[in-house]
Structure formats: C-alpha cells, structure tokens
Symmetry: C2
Subunit: 356 residues, 2 copies
C-alpha cells in the first residue's frame, strides 16, 4: 500500500498520460466511470458513520479480488489516514473528487499501482469505479471497467433493478451508472475562436464540454473534458459510440484549424510557440495558470513539427507536475507560500525542458 | 575607401563599442564633437552647390593628412556616391546625422577605418569632427579630437575670432564649438523611476539627457545620451570635467539602484531578466523596439551576475546590428518589408546568443 501511495503522489506521469493511444496528439486520455452501490446499505449521504465503516469493511477484500485477474497490484487507501496534502494531490491527478477528499472519515480509495483503475469508496455512491486509457480509447476503458464490475458483482450484491438498471444516489446516474469522458487538447479551436460553436453542438448531442482546469468556460491550457450527460435509457455502447463519434469530429476540426494556422500565418505561429518555449525554458517564477497556458502553446508547436527540442510527453507530464499540491508535496515544505511554489514550478519546468 | 565603407556597413561592433573602457558596465561610450568652419567660405546652409563642391575639394587631402599621424587608415566618402540605404546605416551607427544623409549632394564623410574618428563635411558646419572612446573617457576622446583639429588647422584656415572662439553656423555652437556626450545604459534608474529626477538635475547643471533611440523622453533600451548644452564662455576642460562629474554621479546612482533591485527582490529581478533572455533566445520575430527593450534587461542581468550564459559585448553588438537599416543592408534584400526585417532580426539575435 505504502509503495503504491508513494508513487501516486510522486510520479507525475501515469501510463495513461504518457501518450501512444489513438489520436494522442489531441486526445490525452479516455475515461469510463461506473457508479455502483451495495444492495443492503443506505447511500453514503444517508449513512451513519457506523454504516460507512461497515461499507468500507465490506469492500476491504476488493484489491485482492482484482489482483487475481490483473498483472498489476491494487491497494486500499483509507483517506483519513493520509495527509490533507496527499488527498489534494490525488484530487489534482483526478484520482479522487474534491468532495471525497473533503470528508475523509470512513472514505477509502481502491487503486491500481499505475492509477489506470481506481474506485472511490463512499463518495456519492458506495463505489465509483474509473478506468483510464491513453488517447481516444473508450472501448478498452469500458471493457476494463466491465471486467472489474463483474469481479465485484460476483462477490457483492449490487443495487440493480430490472428495466431501470443500477440504482445511484443521484437520479442523473441511474441506469447504466456510466459516465464516459475524454480529455482533449484543443488549442487551435480555441485560438480560432471555434470552441463556443463546438460546445453548443456537443450540448445538443447530449454531451458536456468543460475546461479541465480553471473555472466555468475558461480552460487553462486549452484542455477540455467532453463527457456524456445522460445515462438512463441508453445502452453503454450507444453512449460510447456517440461520444467517440463527436470527439472524432472535434479532433478533425482541431486538425483543420491547426493546418489553417500553420498555412495562413506560419511565421506568427512559430514566433508564438517558440516564445512560449523561451519563457518556460528560462522563467524563474511561473504561476500554475501561466505554466498551463505556455505548455499548451509549446505542445501545439511540437504537434505541428515547429518545435523539435522536446518530446511531446513532457507536456503531459508537466500538466500534472506543475499543479500546486503536487509541487508542494514534492518540495516536502508544508505549507508553502505562493512565491516559493511559483519558483519551484519554474525550476521543475526548466529542468524538464533541458532534459531531452 | 571601398574596404573601409564595407566594414562600416557590415561590422556591428566598432572598437569603441566593444567595452573595456572605464565604467564600461554602465557607460558604453564617450564622444567629443568639434564644429569647425573654413575661413573664406559661406556656411553650408548659405553656400551654392558650386561652393559646397569647392569645400569638399579643399578637404580632399584631409584623410592623407590624418593618416600621417595615425596607425589607422582614413577615407573620404562622397555621400551622393553611396546608396540611400548605406547612408541610413551610417546614421544608425551615429557616424553621420539624419540631415547629412538626407541631402547628400556635395556632402562627404571623412572617416577612420574603425569609425572612432569621423568628420562630416558640409553638414551644418563645414567640418563636424567626432571622436569616440569606449566607456567613460572624455579626456582621451578630447585629446584625439584636439590632435586632429591641430592637423587640420595647420593646413586649412579656420573661422576663429579672438575673445569669441570658433565661429559656427548655429550660435549655440559658437566658442569651443565642442559638444561632449556620453552614452549610458541606465535600466535600474529607469525601473525605479528615478530618470525624471536625473534629467531635472542634469538640466540645472547645463546638461541635456535624451534617449538614444526613440522619440522625446522615451529611451528604448534604456540608453541615454548625456551631453553639454553650452559651449560659449567655458573652456573645453570645464565642459569635460562638468560632464564627467555629473555622469559619475549618475553612474553611482545607477549602481545603487541596481543593488537595491538585487537585494530587495532578487527573485523578481532574476525572473524578469531570464524571461527577456528566453524570448530573445527563441523568438522568431522581433521589432527593433522590443529587441532593444529585451536586450537592456539581459544586459542588466549580465551586469548583475544573474545571467552567465552570454558575454556583455553581445549587448553592444546587437544594439547596432538589430537596427532596421543595418539589418536591411545585411540581408542584401532591398527594399525589405517589416515582417521580413523582424524575422531577420530575431534570427540574428538567436544566432548571436547561441554563440558563447
């Protein structure tokens, strides 16, 4: 357990962020999340502390059960036994939710050593299973989630009703209990001011688009999460193929926009991305926001073949490692003021870019 | 003559800009200019074309006369025989004035091969002699100017009146006919908003302070020219020692301001100068104005020991080589549009900074 936690907290690059999947110059990762509940227990929101403890206890063996079918190791981490900072790092890495981190008593995380599979225990539902894959690969993520779901269902009675499907704490999750989402880097659509249209179209097709980092419509680093809204009355296959098709269209539009940028104003584009690289390469202080914005420019430059000095996975790695809590945990200095944090971030970025 | 002209046009770094003089981390160069006129000729502003031609003819042997007393070679360049672009490069390098370049007929330049000595023929006066030295070294510049003045006076009758001094076209130059000036890089006084006070004090002491590049009070690259106003009724030694003393005080104030910046906010300063370096190192397009501003920051970083990747003379060299006409002449592409010029400037800066 300790080893897995340590690597979760200190390793910036999880395998599903290291690239290599389909469309990986635009789609960073695909995620399937399943909401499941135990049959004979109240939903976490209505459960007493004692009940929550019972639920965690009932699921204690899940890591062992999952390991039997997997080459990877699994661990159960009791959230109240790790530091608030460690919980915040897990939030930044999208392994647990902010709510899950905020109320750690009798909450747990079951997680695979590479974080490609994780299960929040006693978040809104008893089990929130998520499977991640690199690139646009919802099918593999779904297949893995189904396998894990089957393993859990074989040992534990889950709340399920014929004609409705899985029961969940929130009605919007009833049915498949599934949310599928994709994390995509869309700098050219943003630069050419087409994201508004993309969001409108996706919404009409039952999807949600939001910035991965940053509030509201703003997307620091031009990274967007595109996910399904509705889970009731549609099959998992429908949801996945609908999302995949829309994402493929968005990816195509992003490619067209990138070509346009490159053809219409190659000099301006080269100037822009190289300046961003120059600042990242030499700045002595960087806010999280600025780092993401500049990294996005640099990644665009790499993808378009303009910048040849860095490997594309540096971008994915720095996406995680420039986050405030990850940095703070790395420094071992707690609490860390913002100036010190910005300085450490700049230092980390510089040394990452110097290593080729 | 052709060799001297070619090197004037193509070499960015004149010896007096290569550093090494007193206070050379702040004072780039010292200049003495003497205004002289031939006794029996009307001032250029009142002279006919024929008269102007006579004057040039009368001074044709001056290069030979000067060479007899110097290890360097001298040449006389007839301005109408060189291209407008070549004349503009000479203006940018402060070898001739804009007025001199604008009306080239029967105007000439007598110049030493390293541009440390130059004489404009038929600018406002028949002879405008200038001598340059690296760093704060008005005395050597003055001694050289006096030597040259004596050589010329030995062979040519100059307009001079007892009790008044040398006669000049403009009354402000009458007397010594001398203007002494110093080119200083004052980024810390600018950053700490003390330049206004410096200008006011200098003005009270009979001096003028103006930006070397840029209009009015603005000084692109934080490079200022400090010079004497009055030439009548004061001895050359007085003018030089007054200017030297004021410049020394300004240099001290600049040093204090630099130390303050370094002590009060070392991180902010380091961030600032390294970012400027990063942009210069990687930008693909740079305007003349932006290049100067960033070069000034980088030079400050070098002087304060923050930036150790470049030699200080790169700054002096790029001061000249990033000027529009120098660049255009270098490219051989005439006329050159601004985009192409900005691109070439960025390329030149990048390659200069990469060479250590």
């Amino acid at each position: 357990m300790a080893d897995i936690l340590r690597s979760l907290l200190n390793e910036p690059l999880t395998p599903w962020l290291s690239g290599g999947g389909p469309e990986d110059e635009i789609v960073l990762s695909s995620r399937i999340r399943l909401a499941r509940n135990l049959k004979n227990q109240p939903f976490p929101g209505r459960a007493s502390t004692a009940k929550l403890g019972e639920i965690v206890a009932e699921l204690k063996e899940v890591p062992v059960e999952l390991q039997a079918d997997d080459d990877h190791e699994y661990a159960l981490i009791e959230l109240e036994k790790i530091s608030p900072l460690a919980r915040h790092v897990l939030v930044e890495k999208h392994i647990i939710s902010p709510n899950h981190a905020a109320e750690p008593e009798n909450r747990a995380l079951i997680v695979r050593d590479d974080a490609g599979v994780s299960i929040m225990v006693n978040e809104e539902d008893h089990l929130r299973l998520q499977c991640l894959e690199a690139g646009l690969n919802l099918t593999d993520a779904f297949n893995k989630a189904t396998t894990i779901d089957d393993i859990i269902e074989a040992k534990h009675d889950l709340a399920f009703m014929e004609h409705i499907g899985y029961l969940t704490a929130c009605p919007t999750n009833i049915g498949t209990g599934m949310r599928a989402s994709v994390m995509a880097h869309l700098p050219a659509l943003t630069l050419t001011k087409q994201m508004g249209t993309m969001v409108a179209i996706a919404t009409q097709l039952g999807l949600t688009v939001r910035g991965l980092y940053g509030e509201g419509t703003e997307a620091a680093g031009n990274i967007f999460q595109i996910s399904n809204q509705v889970t009731l009355g549609r099959s998992e296959q429908d949801i996945i193929s609908n999302l995949s098709n829309v994402v493929k269209q968005i990816v195509d539009k992003e490619r067209v926009a990138r070509k346009l940028l490159l053809n219409d104003a190659p000099d301006a584009l080269a100037d822009r991305v190289w300046r961003a690289y120059g600042v990242l390469r030499y700045a002595q202080s960087l806010s999280a926001q600025e780092a993401l914005a500049l990294l996005s420019e640099v990644r665009l430059g790499i993808d378009l073949g303009v910048i040849d000095e860095v490997k594309p996975d540096i971008f994915n790695q720095l996406l995680v490692s420039t986050r405030p809590n990850f940095l703070q945990n790395l420094s071992g200095e707690v609490p860390m003021n913002q100036m010190a944090c910005n300085k450490l971030r700049a230092q980390l970025v510089r040394s990452s870019l110097q290593r080729k």
